[in-house]
């Protein structure tokens, strides 16, 4: 069992993260990963140049670790890996890598789903989209909270 939870201030390389997870998962039968990307357009249709992720000096890292550990305890997985960007993420670039490895696929699918539902609502970041039309803060929606709450 291993749990990796990292806060990354520079570019995130999903291929590298997958390679690390695959290396750790020798003996497992499944790996499921999710890669979140900074969207080039807001919900309102405005062009977005970058997503800015402000973080807390201590609580952000703690929150990512707590979510990753809770995931490892909740599902029958062998490895959990979360790498989350902070700072300015240009549109199209990765924000987050969330992956899990397990003996059988269902646990890994559920673990990855859980990781993202928790990160969306409980990871300590303040996000804003920046573009020609200005800057807009992004907060979780009711649907995001409902997605999190379905895990109990």
């Amino acid at each position: 069992m291993s749990v990796v939870a990292q806060l990354e201030a520079h570019a995130l390389d999903p291929q590298l993260e997958l390679a690390e997870l695959t290396e750790q998962a020798r003996g497992d039968g499944a790996i499921v990963t999710f890669i979140g990307l900074a969207r080039p357009e807001s919900k309102g249709g405005d062009a977005v140049d970058a997503l800015v992720l402000e973080h807390h000096p201590t609580l952000t890292r703690q929150s990512i670790e707590e979510i990753a550990v809770a995931c490892a305890e909740k599902f029958d997985v062998s490895h959990v890996r979360v790498v989350h960007r902070c700072g300015t993420v240009p549109a199209g670039e990765p924000i987050v890598f969330a992956g899990a490895a397990s003996l059988h696929r269902r646990a890994a699918f559920n673990a990855a789903d859980y990781l993202m539902d928790r990160l969306k609502t409980d990871a300590v970041f303040w996000k804003r989209e920046v573009g020609d039309s200005g800057s807009a803060w992004i907060e979780p929606t009711e649907a995001d909270y409902a997605d999190r709450d379905r895990w109990g």
């Binding site: 979140g36 992720l53 807390h56 990512i64 987050v96 969306k120 609502t121 970041f125 303040w126 907060e139």
Partner: protein, 78 residues
């Protein structure tokens, strides 16, 4: 009393402000005083979580002039 703000609160006001507070009061009283002093962030403050010493601070928790209180607006990663 030192107040640390994040996200939209920091953007609207500042990352750190000093607040004159009585010798002993509650987290909620601090929140209400900030709301009264800065109406522009009153609504966002109402939705914010208070943190003292790195731990969540309920409204009734007692705080004093030497404390630092952080207010965290709703968070979102991913």
């Amino acid at each position: 009393m030192r107040i640390l703000l994040y996200g939209r609160l920091a953007e609207a006001l500042d990352r750190q402000i000093e607040l004159d507070a009585p010798a002993a009061c509650s987290v909620d009283a601090v929140r209400q005083r900030l709301q009264a002093n800065h109406p522009a962030i009153a609504a966002a403050l109402a939705r914010s979580r208070a943190v003292v010493g790195g731990a969540a601070a309920p409204d009734g928790q007692a705080v004093g002039p030497g404390d630092t209180i952080e207010f965290l607006p709703p968070v979102s990663g991913g």
